[in-house]
Symmetry: C7
Subunit: 77 residues, 7 copies
Amino acid sequence: MLKPHEPPIQELASKLASLQGIDRASVSLAEIDQSTESVKVSIEGTGISIDGVRKALEELGAVIHSIDEVSVAKKTR
Amino acid sequence: MLKPHEPPIQELASKLASLQGIDRASVSLAEIDQSTESVKVSIEGTGISIDGVRKALEELGAVIHSIDEVSVAKKTR
Amino acid sequence: MLKPHEPPIQELASKLASLQGIDRASVSLAEIDQSTESVKVSIEGTGISIDGVRKALEELGAVIHSIDEVSVAKKTR
Amino acid sequence: MLKPHEPPIQELASKLASLQGIDRASVSLAEIDQSTESVKVSIEGTGISIDGVRKALEELGAVIHSIDEVSVAKKTR
Amino acid sequence: MLKPHEPPIQELASKLASLQGIDRASVSLAEIDQSTESVKVSIEGTGISIDGVRKALEELGAVIHSIDEVSVAKKTR
Amino acid sequence: MLKPHEPPIQELASKLASLQGIDRASVSLAEIDQSTESVKVSIEGTGISIDGVRKALEELGAVIHSIDEVSVAKKTR
Amino acid sequence: MLKPHEPPIQELASKLASLQGIDRASVSLAEIDQSTESVKVSIEGTGISIDGVRKALEELGAVIHSIDEVSVAKKTR
């Protein structure tokens, strides 16, 4: 994911963890460029809305670069 | 597995996890080509139908390249 | 183990897991040749008959190349 | 994080662990320079205030260089 | 341990596991020579007799090459 | 930590473990020089006094070279 | 530790495990020389006497080369 230097990653993580259907969010710095930072985001939850995540991140100025791994389990499990 | 850029891997994972006999499905990107993506899929369940999986994936435009590992346990265990 | 391209490994695993005295069977691809595949098989159980395994595999056209590791525990344990 | 040679890392760790909302603090030396030390700090807690942490560290003469990873979980979990 | 190609390792493992004072025996192939195989054997038990093991192995045509690690615990533990 | 060849590390470990507030002490050799040994010490406890540790070590002729990692948890945890 | 080829390591391990205050003893071969073997010994117990260990080993013709790591915990733990 690419984001400008602001907001800091703790704000991204707090924002994501506050979304409905998300239980936990982790954000770590991958690369720092002159005007942008590349970060890795992982989220866990029982009802994650990718569109909700994308929208929340865009409100903070960040853009999803790629989704590298998705794991889905049946609720009844 | 080879798939076109659409649909995204979160849709593949959700689709597979929704199939009968499958408890959990994970999809991760392996390689991205100009028009296709190579992804790794792993599924767990108590009654997986390989044909059902193949059919569901083909409906989404994806083709199984190879099945690399299979583990089967007796139900009575 | 060497086997022709048919049957696929999921059939081998299912067949082995269905044998008496076997609780779990895993089969993974090691090498793919023009007409044969080299696969690794591991089986667990409380009463494995190596001859039963060999016979079942031969019925599917596969030949045991070598047995690399065997672990045996006393039943009373 | 950069800090002068004084105070020692055990004081930093004690100070951080004493802050409200922090359950555990670890500090390890990364690099030692002529007048400063680069240290890694990791903190866990149920209500961490980054500003409180920054203020506490500055009182001890240390400056946060970067925040590399943040993980946030919902309280209701 | 050196052994001729016969008997196969599954027989060695079964034989060792059947000895008094041995709970579990594992045998794995290390090297295969023209007329002999070098195998690794590990055994667990509450009353292992090294002489009993040596005798059982010699009856099967195998010779202990070296004992590389021994661990002994007090019974009262 | 630097120490002369005497006392041996088992005495250092016993001494440290006997201090108030220390539950466990481990000492391992890192380098052996002509007249000194460099050792690594790790201690765990619920009320470690660094000054008490330094004093105890100095009584045995050893000098703390550096403290590389400190982890502190709140008692109420 | 250096020891002559006799006694074998299983005897060393049994001897050490039989000493008062020792719960478990492991001996593994490190190097084999023309007339001596270098072995690694690790012992666990609630009241290990290093002098008792040294004496028992010397009775078997072995000499402690170095003690590389010692860990001591308070009994009340």
